[in-house]
Symmetry: C2
Subunit: 315 residues, 2 copies
């Protein structure tokens, strides 16, 4: 069993977070991950009523700690921040900004705050604000991403903060997990692999895109004007987005709404042509639907074997 | 001592390649790396006479194996390919294309061919051609890059080929090296850290840019029209390149010559304002000029300690 400040501090069996994927990470998936020993995380993206409902579902399915992922720029962020307190959610992961205004109330309520960061400077600011840990997320991740990659970002963040670091981006198996530990991380966050978990409610067409993807199947949209870069699987949506984004007369405003509704269209309605199929570069390695518990057991077993066998090259 | 198919097959003390950085990786640097137990690699970028001269310099400084890096699109590639045979260079690493036409002669001459690849498909093709190994290089690297990152690319390449894989991109210390081994690599290629080695002849202004860089100091140019993406440290050159590249009337042709001479201007003349300072995302971690041997000993010592201590998290 791997024991780190993440497992000890959060009361987890395994140092594995499930990414709080918008429109996808619901109570059922989160409960399956938490019940299997990791930290299941519900996305707060779909509003207050949805979040309350999904927390309730998760609580019925598991007694273990759960988390909520809050995109700070979301119009319902304020409401979600309070729900997290009211429902005694154990962990909140935040993205897309600084959680400054919510921190005092969360810390007072005993919520562990674990921001997702894409740079050293952001990690340092989060530690000062009282974060319990940070998720250092590389741009190989699916969804909204920064510029740094996991192998470059994680050790630089580890050098800059004293709180634990969770590695994210490009991790789907024991190899990525063991590598993250070598970089100084004390846990990993996995998104793409859980997309194809049996307990994941994302549309079957979406799962099929991930299962069929090769190493080079993803692309980034929203890069031109900065601040909104997303990694997704190449399809009609991404091709048209990129054409419009790089059109001579494109502006930040003309591009701003191109993605609206596109993730929901793919994830919920299963339209993987005109919808946006967010997924990471590691999609090429994700080839098998499995129950969550089987995935996590496999990842942890392989990680332990790699760490135990790490001296095999030393002669 | 780490022993892999790379150290055994190439007769190296350590599984560490020095990146064949154009205009920078000369005979003196390569000899220092080879003499310290790694594989020093001379860039063939500056033409046949230069290459012959640098091989001679390296041979005078070390009896150990050396390598040459050949950009296959270079106008002097043909000449360089023959020099490699004539001078009995032990290893050739190739970039920017398929080395198909040179392979038979190289293999017959006993040259070990180790192409740099950025995708699984390219790795598979290289194995079929008779490559001894591949360098799987992530886009966190400095210089010409692909799309995949190291943590996503390396395990997918390892799964697809039987020949040894050398990880490159974002690796500058024992942590990156140990992580690469966990991903399945049997060696690492390091570029950015060797830029600030005492034996590296790159201009002092260039070294200072790397030493002063933070985690977020690099950017990519040449991305818009594809095929020529380069990672460099942000400066006047990169800002102006990107403005021109994304101008409404930009075309692949208008952009093609923007970088001509820019690397030489920075690396040789020390003009780090209008010159191109190629360097990787790990620049933020590279803060200390050292002799090559000290760097390599430190990296190998830290790698071994991490691998030996890999079970510390297992309770």
């Amino acid at each position: 069993m791997l024991s780190t400040r993440i497992t000890e501090g959060l009361g987890l069996r395994y140092p594995v977070f499930q990414g709080g994927m918008a429109w996808i990470a619901d109570g059922k998936l989160a409960a399956a991950v938490s019940e299997a020993g990791g930290l299941g995380i519900i996305s707060a993206m779909a509003g207050g009523d949805y979040l309350r409902g999904q927390i309730k579902i998760a609580r019925e399915l598991t007694d273990r700690p759960i988390g909520v992922n809050l995109m700070l720029q979301s119009p319902t962020a304020e409401e979600a921040a309070q729900i997290i307190i009211d429902e005694k959610v154990e962990v909140v992961t935040t993205g897309a900004g600084m959680p400054t205004k919510f921190m005092p109330a969360w810390l007072e309520a005993g919520v562990k705050v674990i921001p997702v960061v894409a740079s050293v400077a952001m990690a340092v600011r989060m530690e000062k604000l009282g974060a319990f840990a940070v998720v250092a997320e590389g741009q190989e991740s699916g969804g909204h991403i920064g510029e740094l990659t996991t192998i470059a970002l994680v050790p630089q963040v580890v050098d800059a903060v004293s709180i634990p670091v969770i590695a994210a981006g490009g991790i789907a198996d024991g190899r990525g997990t063991a590598a993250s530990f070598m970089l100084g991380a004390e846990g990993v966050q996995i998104g793409t692999r859980f997309l194809v978990a049996e307990e994941c409610g994302v549309h079957e067409n979406y799962k099929k895109m991930v299962l069929d993807a090769a190493d080079t199947s993803t692309v980034t949209t929203g890069r031109r004007f900065g601040g909104n870069t997303c990694r997704c699987i190449k399809n009609k949506f991404s091709r048209e987005f990129i054409v419009k984004e790089y059109a001579p007369d494109a502006t930040p405003e003309s591009v701003a709404d191109l993605g609206v509704g596109a993730l929901r269209r793919a994830a919920v309605e299963g339209d993987t042509k005109t919808g946006c199929v967010l997924a990471g570069q590691i999609s090429g390695m994700v080839n098998r639907p499995q129950p969550v518990a089987e995935m996590i057991e496999e990842i942890m077993k392989d990680t332990e074997e790699l760490l135990k066998g790490a001296t095999k090259w030393i002669k």
